[in-house]
């Protein structure tokens, strides 16, 4: 069952087009990544879906429109930065969220344990570090056990340790089978967490599908030799190489469908070139993303 269906959605700010006829379907249970460079329209899309912004055209429905007006009480969302009352502590802020979602307060200990804020639950929000604020926002998303989570750049501004913490929390939530829509410009993050991905740029949908289907089947090979120039000349005209680029002292090679690095090694050896570096790399989302957004 689709958790979200978006049809021809657009949003304009005067002459600036933030969303341009976007079509998208997110099935229940998917961990759906929204990828795009800064300013591509990810946050605008989520803001429209959460009723913070009004769309200029098109439509969207949550749960096929079966939940009526209260549908957003079944959605937990973190949009841009965490926003809470600075003079209230974690318990008080989450109690407000619980009241909005019409669930019983006080907030369960397990929730604060999950986001590692149990020790600081009575401290005012304004005394929290950025990581703690982000974790409180995640806890707020989970109040009322929502069916869908919308997370917009959830690791933004965090130090590496904080990023890992938040990522682990998201992975734990995803393991519970919840639908997650995760917007990020951090490809590594999306690749690690998401099952499906949509790539948008300038408000337009460029690609959508399972992460595996977005990635090319063919691996990337990194090769090096003492005479790198001779290797480059050989492989530039070789039939098994689809694309060749230089990267420092190595060549990055995209092989033709059905070819493998062994054939590459043999070809080089037959032409008197001994490879001193040969690494098979899985095609990364980053390469695909750059390829798609360059179009």
């Amino acid at each position: 069952m689709p958790a979200l269906t978006v049809r021809n959605l657009s949003k304009n700010y005067g002459s600036l087009v933030a969303l341009d006829g976007l079509d998208l379907t997110v099935e229940a249970g998917q961990v759906f990544g929204l990828l795009g460079p800064n300013g591509s329209g990810k946050t605008t899309l989520l803001a429209v879906l959460l009723d913070v912004l009004h769309p200029s055209g098109g439509s969207f429905t949550w749960f096929e429109g079966r939940e009526g007006e209260n549908v957003r009480k079944r959605i937990g969302a973190l949009l841009e930065t965490p926003n809470f009352y600075p003079y209230l502590n974690a318990d008080q802020n989450l109690s407000i969220v619980a009241s909005i979602k019409r669930v019983s307060s006080p907030v369960p200990d397990a929730l604060l344990e999950l986001v590692q804020l149990k020790e600081r639950r009575r401290s005012p929000y304004k005394t929290y570090s950025l990581g703690m604020k982000q974790r409180l926002a995640l806890a707020a998303c989970l109040v009322g056990d929502p069916d869908v989570l919308i997370l917009d750049e959830p690791t933004n501004g965090l130090d590496p340790e904080g990023m890992v913490e938040v990522r682990h929390i998201i992975q734990k939530i995803a393991a519970q089978g919840k639908t997650i829509i995760l917007a990020s410009h951090m490809l590594d993050e999306v690749e690690k967490i998401c099952s499906h991905v949509a790539i948008i740029k300038k408000g337009r949908l460029l690609a959508v599908g399972a992460v595996g289907s977005i990635l090319s089947d063919q691996p990337t090979v990194e090769a090096g030799a003492v005479d790198i120039e001779k290797l480059f000349q050989l492989l530039s005209s070789a039939a098994l190489v689809k694309k060749i680029t230089r990267s420092g002292n190595y060549l990055i090679l995209e092989l033709e469908s059905g070819r493998n690095p062994g054939e590459l090694n043999r070809l080089a050896f037959e032409h008197g070139i001994i490879l001193d570096h040969l690494i098979l790399k899985r095609q990364s989302l980053e390469v695909e993303f750059l390829e798609i957004t360059r179009q």
Binding site: L50, E69, I75, L79, N83, Y85, Q92, I96, I100
Partner: protein
């Protein structure tokens, strides 16, 4: 949409806030202080004529005029403090980005708007309750015995308190930043409307309709309780006949409805 639920929600948001408590305390304490000063002035301002010592405004300090006098004193607290509180309630939400966050957490836009209006009604009721308690206190302290509240004064005080709260929330909603919004609110209440009224009066038309401008109506809800002779003198020489209490009450009700609708419409229609 359960108004009681929305009221509880707003209580959780605002009651722990330091600025909110400070403005509330200032309202209560300055209201009581002005009353105390008025009592003191009432005792000391006496004159002797034909061997009889009396107070020139003696009639104001006894029941039932004391209800009107205190409403008049309270109107200054309403215009300054309740109006500013109305501004702060909204701009605080914008500066913390918690208004949009409430929508993100699942409130409908209409629920957000109605919760602010319900909270404003509760605050206006609290202010009216304080007004009633202060008059009772005054009556007891001065040993008059408890005089029943004047229904008209109490209703008008409530309408005025709510009116200035609504005006403040509207200024906060349209301007979104506390200092500019408070300045705009005070400028409108004390300068802009009066200037517009006089310009229109002298250069366009000498019409009584000018008394039906929002602040004129809210201010007319608690007129200074002057002795009947003075009142007659003022009325007979006025450029325009002042609003009667009934006119002021009814027009204030219409304005309150308009303010509430404008407030809801703005929140429902605009990007947050």
């Amino acid at each position: 949409m359960n108004p009681l639920h929305l009221l509880k929600l707003e209580w959780k948001r605002y009651w722990p806030n330091g600025t909110f408590r400070m403005i509330g305390a200032l309202y209560a304490s300055s209201f009581a202080l002005v009353l105390f000063l008025a009592r003191a002035a009432g005792r000391n301002m006496t004159f002797t004529s034909n061997g009889v010592t009396s107070h020139p405004l003696a009639g104001l300090f006894v029941y039932p005029q004391n209800w009107e006098l205190l409403a008049c004193i309270g109107s200054w607290m309403n215009v300054f403090l309740l109006g500013s509180l109305g501004v702060f309630m909204i701009t605080m939400e914008f500066s913390n980005r918690t208004l949009r966050q409430s929508v993100i957490f699942g409130m409908t836009r209409l629920e957000v708007a109605v919760s602010k209006l319900v909270w404003s009604v509760a605050l206006a009721l609290a202010a009216t309750g304080l007004y009633i308690l202060l008059v009772f206190g005054w009556e007891v302290l001065d040993g008059w015995g408890l005089g029943l509240p004047l229904a008209g004064s109490v209703a008008s005080f409530f309408l005025q308190a709510l009116g200035y709260l609504f005006l403040g929330t509207l200024a906060g909603l349209f301007i979104r930043q506390t200092a500019p919004a408070v300045l705009a609110y005070l400028a409108y209440v004390f300068i802009l409307e009066t200037v517009c009224r006089w310009v229109f009066y002298f250069y366009v038309a000498k019409t009584r309709l000018l008394l039906f401008l929002p602040n004129q109506v809210l201010w007319a809800l608690t007129p200074l309780p002057v002795p009947e002779s003075v009142n007659h003198l003022v009325h007979s020489n006025a450029f325009i006949k002042p609003l009667s209490p009934a006119e002021a009450d009814l027009t204030a009700l219409v304005y309150l409805g308009m303010f509430a609708m404008l407030f809801c419409r703005r929140i429902v229609k605009s990007d947050l």
